[in-house]
Structure formats: structure tokens, C-alpha cells
């Protein structure tokens, strides 16, 4: 008898503590990872998913220790490969709610290929990428999201590389849910996490995360009281892109680029573009995401894209059903005796 047959205990409302494992987090004091862990624990009780059906899969990195701290099933796998394991898990048991936890090195350097193929296939998996723009666990080398010129242990004279923008990669490879949030804004993170976790298909969330030890303050502009309103743009569905200290600026698409235009809350320009997460073609979202880190524009945060597309495992199950209907349920007897068979008789 398999375990699966065991009687399920009566459904009870879970709390944040139900998701806290016995292992104490081993991150540096002050690390942004703590905030992400806390928000994840907050959203899970209300998702209506039995705890035993939740699984966190990670690679290697400071961030990838995450599964140990969740009182759910978990796999702390090898560097960059979490999406592959997660895919196998989801295809084998589509009832499970599968999260991938990764870092900018884990997910975009060594694991970049698995990441884009996961997005392309649209397997129903929620990917949370902790982007601290540094390799934390290996003590401070530049990562594929480090800024050009950044001085690190492996670039004592400055990095020569152009950074990836993870949002662009996700959009180009076809992820059906794409979002960005930041460790210092727990409320926003909760909203984004909830939406991502509920999405059917590959959901990608980039979390800007502060590494206090090796890259402190990398995203400070987006949260410091004096700069955040100018530097961070929170996108809202159906609303214009408003930002600025006095909410007095907005964005407009002008022939082939975005430009900043004045905005008057009380008298909004009716022609002003508004945000549409559900647009099937993500061209404008691509343009928006390209503004990140551009000193002339604010960095967008929030949900870039959320569209409904068949999931890979959904199609697989459908195909199985289809073949069963066409050929009948598989049967070993039939299998053995098909092909080129012949008899040798007793003489």
C-alpha cells in the first residue's frame, strides 16, 4: 500500500508558524533573505494548499538555503539545476505546488539555460529569483546582474560585463507571469508573491535583495525615503505609470522609445498609456523593463505580464488521455506480443 492512500487529517487553517521549520536560518544578520522568507510564510496559509503538497526546490547559494527553513517538502539541489528537478517533480505529480528558489548566479549564470527553457515550456512552477547582484555564498564575486565596472573579488579593476536584465530574459523566453519586487517593501512583495503563486504556468518573480556583506545598498535608491519616489515606479493594472516625489510624472511611448511626461493626478491626460499585464504580446513590457537602471528613468516594480497559456503538464496529461482513448489503456501482455513475433514449435 502506498503512502498516498493514508487518510488525510481534517483540513485546518494553517498559520505562519506551521511553515517554520526546525532549522534556524543561517544568513548574515541584516540579509535581505530574511524578509523574503517572512513574506513567503505569510502568504502560504491562505493559499488553500495542504502543506504536504508544497515543495521548494533550490540550487546553491545563500538564497538557495531557503528550503531548509520551510516546514514543507524541499530539495536543496546543485548549482543552477533547480528548474530541472522542479520540472521532473511537477510532471510526475501535477498535484504538487512547486516553487523554485534561486539566485542571480544560480539562476542566470550557471543555470541560465534551464531557466529560459522552463519559461518557454510554461511548466506550472513559481520561480523566485533573489537578485543581490553578487555571488554571496562564494564570498563576493560579480554575477551576471552586477553592474559594469563593479569592483568585486574577481574584478579588482572593475567588471567588464554588461548585466542581464532578468525580466527581459523571462519575457523573451515566453514566461507567462513576470514580476519584480524588492526585499524592503514587504507589502508589495506579498501582493506579488500571491499573484505569482496563484498563476497557472511558469511564474517568474525577480526580488531585488540586499546583500549586506558584499554588495550593501545595491538597491538603496529604490527604498530610501529621499529617492524612492523618483527612482521606483510601481506599475498598477489599468493605471498610468505614475511616479515622482509629487506623483507628478508619467511615461509615454513616443514612436520608438519611452519618455517621461508631466502628470496631473487631478487632471490626467486621457490619452496617457495605462498598464496592461494581460497584453498577449509583451513588446511594451519589454520596453518598460529596459528602463531599469537607466538614470533617466525610474525602475519599474510590480507585475509586467500575466497571461493564460496552456501549461506543459496540462498538455502532457491531455496527450496521455488522448492516446489512451485511441489505443486503449496500456497492457503488458499486449506490449510483449506486438512487433515481429514468431513461434518455435516443439519438435
Amino acid at each position: 500500500m502506498s503512502q498516498q492512500d493514508k487518510v488525510r487529517p481534517g483540513k485546518v487553517q494553517l498559520t505562519r508558524d506551521d511553515f517554520t521549520s526546525k532549522s534556524e536560518p543561517r544568513w548574515c544578520p541584516g540579509c535581505g533573505d530574511y524578509a523574503i522568507l517572512a513574506q513567503m510564510k505569510k502568504i502560504l496559509p491562505d493559499m488553500g494548499i495542504p502543506r504536504e503538497n508544497i515543495i521548494f526546490v533550490s540550487g546553491i547559494g545563500c538564497s538557495s538555503r531557503f528550503p531548509y527553513y520551510m516546514n514543507t517538502y524541499g530539495v536543496h539541489s546543485i548549482h543552477g539545476r533547480a528548474p530541472t528537478i522542479a520540472t521532473g517533480i511537477k510532471l510526475a505529480n501535477p498535484d504538487l505546488k512547486v516553487f523554485v528558489i534561486t539566485g542571480d548566479g544560480d539562476g542566470l549564470s550557471i543555470g541560465g539555460n534551464h531557466f529560459i527553457h522552463l519559461c518557454r515550456r510554461n511548466v506550472d512552477i513559481t520561480v523566485i529569483l533573489f537578485n543581490n547582484r553578487i555571488y554571496g555564498l562564494t564570498k563576493g564575486q560579480y554575477s551576471p546582474t552586477s553592474l559594469k565596472g563593479q569592483i568585486t573579488k574577481s574584478s579588482p579593476y572593475g567588471s567588464l560585463e554588461n548585466p542581464f536584465n532578468p525580466i527581459l530574459m523571462a519575457l523573451a523566453s515566453g514566461a507567462t507571469f513576470v514580476a519584480r519586487t524588492i526585499d524592503r517593501n514587504p507589502k508589495h512583495m506579498i501582493e506579488v508573491f500571491k499573484r505569482a503563486a496563484m498563476h497557472k504556468g511558469t511564474a517568474f518573480v525577480e526580488v531585488y535583495q540586499n546583500c549586506v556583506i558584499f554588495n550593501d545598498g545595491a538597491f538603496a535608491d529604490l527604498t530610501k525615503p529621499d529617492t524612492k519616489s523618483e527612482r521606483a515606479l510601481y506599475m498598477e493594472q489599468g493605471k498610468p505609470y505614475v511616479f515622482g516625489n509629487n506623483r507628478d510624472k508619467s511615461l509615454r511611448w513616443s514612436s520608438n522609445h519611452f519618455e517621461v511626461v508631466p502628470y496631473d493626478e487631478n487632471n490626467p491626460d486621457k490619452e496617457l498609456m495605462v498598464h496592461d499585464e494581460h497584453s498577449l504580446n509583451p513588446t511594451l513590457e519589454f520596453g518598460l523593463a529596459s528602463l531599469s537602471d537607466d538614470p533617466n528613468f525610474p525602475t519599474p516594480l510590480g507585475i509586467f505580464r500575466d497571461v493564460a497559456v496552456d501549461t506543459y503538464e496540462g498538455l502532457l496529461l491531455k496527450q496521455i488521455e488522448f492516446v489512451k482513448q485511441k489505443k486503449g489503456e496500456g497492457d503488458l501482455e499486449k506490449l510483449f506480443h506486438s512487433g515481429n513475433t514468431f513461434y518455435i514449435e516443439n519438435k
Binding site: P9, E52, I60, G74, V75, H76, L332, F342
Partner: protein
């Protein structure tokens, strides 16, 4: 004209050879099929180039298919063809040196001219000089005759010429008194949407047969008696097919879904192709973006409750090796099939070799023991897959299954087993959440406890860092030493659950042969030959290479000589020398081909004469 007679042979080897585009693999398969239906023993060896369709007429574009048929037990496709069908000069050039003295050459004489001769490197036409006088040459204008036979069929000349392999097949059917019907049926089914091709191919087949009959081309026809093998229903299978059936069977017998994570690579791709047909057997195949993702997905599926397997060849194993270490550490069931091919690196991708054994044993960082099982023949791939899966599930361990290009593509009759006679595979799950610890072990097998995601109360973590019994990460030095030894000990215990090979021959004497994998057939034949000559030799063939079987211990010191034939520079022989401190010697050829029986017989004779 000589008088026609019919000879009965015990065994005969035929080789079809032509351009990659000449359909030689198909011709060989049709010949094989009829032979199987006739109840003969047979072993085949396809031998095709790495190019999909190399330019016509070149030496490297030659594609060959060899089959040995016999009325008694055989295990090799034969060393030397007795009959060679050569569709062009390049095919003759490449294969002639293999043909036995006085062998039959059936040659498409239409192809022996101009550029074709030059491409094959012939300065004069071999049909017109003396170079073939050691053989029985039958030069037939196959192209011309095929075109003539197809007059009136609504096809272009180019299309008609594609039927000439059926003409050649017809001739060989007559030569071996094989019936045409099974092939005619097959043509009708295969080309059912193209009636003009049905017509053309059947006409060509008949024309070839009739040509041989009516021109009395051959002075002799040959018969091979039905084989005296165990009565029952047989199915002709390639190794890759048998393997696929074995895995489906294992999953069904373990009440699990089968999950294959794989990336195409020669000569393993057919397993992916084959398994992807069986969606109605709850077989989930996943073509991954690379070999790493293939094994990663299989590991994930295995953790989630499926029978997870991955299939590849040498270079793919190299890529999987980091994940293999992870599977060892996480102690998850998994079967990794390596259909070995010529190496190193890309090497000779369409050729066979046994040179990945040490990689299977040692190709991972740290102490990462993995059991290794090897299949010995195409049909044996079925049981090897079944047994590998059983051990993987029972011991919660990744298992290596080694085959090679030769048995993967080669075929032989498989005695279809009774489905019910195959025992169920039991999988043990943890049952008590209160005492559950992921690295608590079964005291007998040392397998760790298994709990599937989705089961309430068993939430836990696995990972690649060293763990203690509770599953917590543990840096303690003594725990590490203990775990390293436990993981090794677990694999040793497999010996208590698998058959120990029996020695074949006397338990002591002059010479012991030790072999593994696909050399089984060659060694079998060589030993048969040696014994026919009245000499004694004993033989031990390994199924599991790790854990190393215990039964050898009893005998190995009783022999003056130990010889280990392998298609590598000597890999198993290292393990044997290390383990038993006996001066075992290797018989090694690394030619991308199965070992040659005659050479092995000679090597054995040399030892026995000393």
C-alpha cells in the same frame, strides 16, 4: 551451366552494403524479419556512418547491415560475411576485406563506372581485373533490371531507382530459399498511402527473385534449418527496444509511472523514440534541453514517486556526473543507461566500445558509489532494465546500466516471458510520521526511508550537503566518515539480493576467461570453438560489475591464467587485479567493432599452448 543444387548450412553470415541512401538498413531489417519468422537463430549488426546521408558514392557514406543466421545457438553477427551484397564500388571497397575466402559477392554492376569508381579509389574496374578472383562474383545490372521491371509504373526514374534494394533482396531471398510473403505484406502496410510505391517495390522484389530463379544465376541455393531453441513465442528485438520494454515492465510491476528524462544522442536516441510511443502506458517522456536537465528531471520525478530513468551515451554521462553524485548523496532511485559508443570525446559516435566502465565506476567527485549492471545481448536488455530498476527502487540508489552500440542496434529473438511470472517490485515507504527520519535506514538493505511529497506528516528536505540521520546538514567529521562508509556498504549489500554468476566449465584449470557486457556473444562462440577442438577453458561472465560478485572468489585462484577480453584498453581487468591480486591479462581491441571471434580463439590457443 552448372547444375543447380541446394545445400543445408549450419550457419551463414550475410552483409548488405551500399550508399547511405540505398536503403541497406531497411533491406537488412526485412531480411532479418523473414529469417526470424522462419525460426532461425539470428544476430544482427547494423553499421552505418555518422552522416545522415553522405554524398553518393563516397567511402565514408557506406552503410552496412550484417546478419548471421543459424540452426544452432549463436551470439555474434559473424566475423566474416559469407555473402556480401554490394550496391556500389565504395561498398565493395570498404567491405571486401571482411568477406570469407570463396565468399559470394552479389554486385550491382551498373554502379561500377566512372565517378563512382574514382570516388571509391579504384583505378581500374574490379569487375574487369583480376582482383576478385578469390570470390564467387555475381555481377548483376541491378539498376537496369529494376528500371525495366518497373516500366509502366507511374514514378520518375529517380524514384524507381529507390526500389533497387528490393530487387537485391529478392535475389537473396531466392538464394536462401526464404519466402516473399512477409515482405510483400509489410510493403503493403508501410506504403499504404502511396499505392505506386507498393506496386514498384513488390514488382522489384519479385523481379529480383525471378531473375535469380530463371537465370539460374546461382548454382546453389542454401537452406538453414529451423533453430532447435526452446519452443515458445519469440519476438525479434533490438537492444534499445528490449530495454524500453524492460523499463515499462519494471514501472508497471512497481505500480509506478515511468518517467524518462533524456536528451537525444547516438546510439541511445531510439530508447527515447520508443518510449515516447507509450503514452497509454503512463510513460512520461521528457526531451530535455541537455543531458543535465534530463537527469535532473528524472531525479525530480523519482523524488515525486515515479520510476525515474535517464538514457544517454558516454559524452552525456560526462555531463550527468555532477547530478549522479547528487543522486548518490540524496539516495534516490534512478536508472542511468549508458549505450556506450566509441570514445574519447565525440570519438566514433556510431561505433561500439566498452570504454566507459571506469567512468561508471569512478567518474564522480568524492566517494560516490553506484551499482553497475551490464546487458550481454539485445534480448538481455529486457532483463537488465528490469533488474536495474528493481535494485534502484529497493536500495534507493542510482544504478548504472551499461549497454553499447552493438547490442543497442543489433537484434535477436527474445523468448516472450509470461507477464504474470514476473514478480512484483516492492517499494517500501516510511509509514510512521513520528519516527520518520529521511536518513534512517532499513537495517537489512541500508536503504534510507522514503516518503513522497504529498504525504502529510513526512515533510522533509533532501540535498547534496552531507546530512545526519535526521536530514539536517551536518559538518561533523565523524558523521561524514560514517556516512561515506554507510553509502559504500549499502551497495555491497546488493550482492545478497542478486544472483551470483555461475562459472561455466571446470572450477579449476589452465585458463579462466572473465567478461562483461556485449562481448558475451564473442566469448561464447570462441569457447565453443576451443572446446570443439578438445581443449578446456572456463568462463565467468559478470552481470553486476559493482558490487563485484562474490562467487568469483572461490575459483579465481585455481587457474594458471586469467584472460579478460574487452573492447577497451583494459578496464575490468584493473578491477580484477586490484581485488584478487592475480596476474590477469587483457585481450583488447579498440576498433569500434565487436571483438573478432577468430582473433580471440587464437589468443586463447596461444595461452593454452604455453
Amino acid at each position: 551451366m552448372e547444375k543447380k543444387e541446394s545445400k543445408t548450412l549450419e550457419r551463414v553470415t550475410i552483409r548488405f552494403a551500399g550508399d547511405s541512401g540505398d536503403g541497406m538498413q531497411l533491406t537488412g531489417m526485412r531480411f532479418t524479419n523473414t529469417t526470424a519468422l522462419e525460426g532461425h537463430e539470428l544476430v544482427t549488426l547494423p553499421d552505418y556512418p555518422a552522416e545522415i546521408r553522405a554524398p553518393a558514392g563516397t567511402l565514408f557514406g557506406v552503410s552496412g547491415f550484417q546478419i548471421q543466421i543459424s540452426s544452432s545457438e549463436i551470439h555474434t553477427p559473424g566475423d566474416q560475411p559469407d555473402v556480401l551484397v554490394a550496391m556500389n564500388p565504395a561498398a565493395l571497397k570498404v567491405n571486401l576485406k571482411l568477406v570469407s575466402d570463396n565468399g559470394i559477392l552479389i554486385i550491382n554492376s551498373d554502379a561500377f563506372q566512372g565517378r563512382n569508381l574514382a570516388l571509391a579509389g579504384y583505378e581500374t574496374n574490379p569487375l574487369e581485373d583480376d582482383s576478385l578472383k578469390r570470390y564467387q562474383v555475381f555481377a548483376v545490372p541491378i539498376t537496369t533490371l529494376t528500371r525495366r521491371a518497373l516500366e509502366g509504373v507511374k514514378l520518375s526514374v529517380k524514384e524507381k531507382d529507390r526500389s533497387k534494394n528490393f530487387f537485391a533482396l529478392g535475389m537473396t531471398f531466392w538464394l536462401f530459399t526464404h519466402p516473399l510473403e512477409p515482405t510483400i505484406e509489410w510493403i503493403k502496410e508501410k506504403f499504404k498511402n502511396r499505392p505506386e510505391l507498393v506496386e514498384a517495390n513488390i514488382k522489384a522484389l519479385n523481379a529480383g527473385y525471378n531473375y535469380a530463379l530463371s537465370t539460374e544465376l546461382f548454382s546453389t541455393t542454401y537452406r538453414v534449418d529451423k533453430a532447435k531453441k526452446a519452443p515458445g513465442k519469440y519476438r525479434n528485438v533490438t537492444g534499445n527496444e528490449a530495454l524500453s520494454i524492460g523499463f515499462i515492465t519494471a514501472a508497471k510491476k512497481a505500480h509506478k509511472e515511468l518517467f524518462l528524462g533524456s536528451y537525444p544522442i547516438t546510439p541511445a536516441s531510439e530508447i527515447l523514440h520508443e518510449l515516447s510511443k507509450y503514452r497509454n502506458y503512463d510513460v512520461k517522456t521528457f526531451q530535455a534541453e541537455d543531458e543535465i536537465a534530463g537527469i535532473g528531471a528524472a531525479i525530480g520525478a523519482s523524488y515525486a514517486g515515479a520510476l525515474g530513468i535517464t538514457t544517454t551515451s558516454g559524452p552525456g554521462v560526462a555531463l550527468k556526473s555532477e547530478f549522479l553524485g547528487f543522486a548518490v548523496m540524496a539516495e534516490l532511485p534512478l536508472v542511468v543507461t549508458n549505450v556506450q559508443r566509441g570514445g574519447p570525446s565525440t570519438g566514433l559516435p556510431t561505433k561500439t566500445e566498452q570504454a566507459d566502465l571506469l567512468q561508471a565506476l569512478y567518474g564522480r567527485n568524492g566517494e560516490a558509489p553506484m551499482p553497475i549492471i551490464a546487458a550481454k545481448s539485445p534480448a538481455d536488455c529486457f532483463s537488465a532494465a528490469l533488474e536495474a530498476s528493481k535494485i534502484a527502487l529497493m536500495f534507493s540508489t542510482p544504478v548504472f546500466l551499461l549497454t553499447d552500440g552493438y547490442i543497442a542496434n543489433g537484434s535477436e529473438p527474445w523468448l516472450i516471458p509470461d507477464v504474470d511470472s514476473i514478480p512484483e517490485i516492492e517499494v517500501h515507504y516510511a509509514t510512521d510520521p513520528d519516527t520518520f527520519m529521511p536518513y534512517k535506514r532499513d537495517p537489512k538493505t541500508l536503504a534510507r526511508m522514503i516518503a513522497l511529497p504529498g504525504t502529510p506528516g513526512f515533510e522533509h528536505h533532501i540535498g547534496g550537503l552531507e546530512k545526519d540521520d535526521t536530514g539536517d546538514v551536518a559538518y561533523d567529521p565523524d558523521n561524514h566518515d560514517r556516512m561515506v562508509r554507510l553509502r559504500a556498504e549499502k551497495i555491497e549489500r546488493i550482492n545478497q539480493y542478486v544472483d551470483q554468476p555461475e562459472i561455466n566449465g571446470d572450477p579449476e584449470g589452465e585458463l579462466l576467461l572473465i567478461s562483461w557486457g556485449s562481448t558475451y556473444g564473442t566469448v561464447f562462440t570462441a569457447i565453443e570453438e576451443i572446446r570443439k577442438r578438445g581443449k578446456k577453458v572456463s568462463w565467468y561472465h559478470l552481470r553486476w560489475i559493482y558490487p563485484f560478485p562474490l562467487s568469483l572468489e572461490k575459483y579465481i585462484h585455481n587457474f594458471k591464467n586469467v584472460l579478460v577480453p574487452e573492447i577497451n584498453l583494459g578496464q575490468l581487468v584493473k578491477v580484477i587485479r586490484d581485488r584478487y591480486l592475480v596476474d590477469a591479462k587483457g585481450f583488447n581491441r579498440v576498433r569500434g567493432l565487436p571483438l573478432n571471434t577468430h582473433e580471440l580463439v587464437e589468443a586463447i590457443e596461444n595461452i593454452l599452448q604455453k
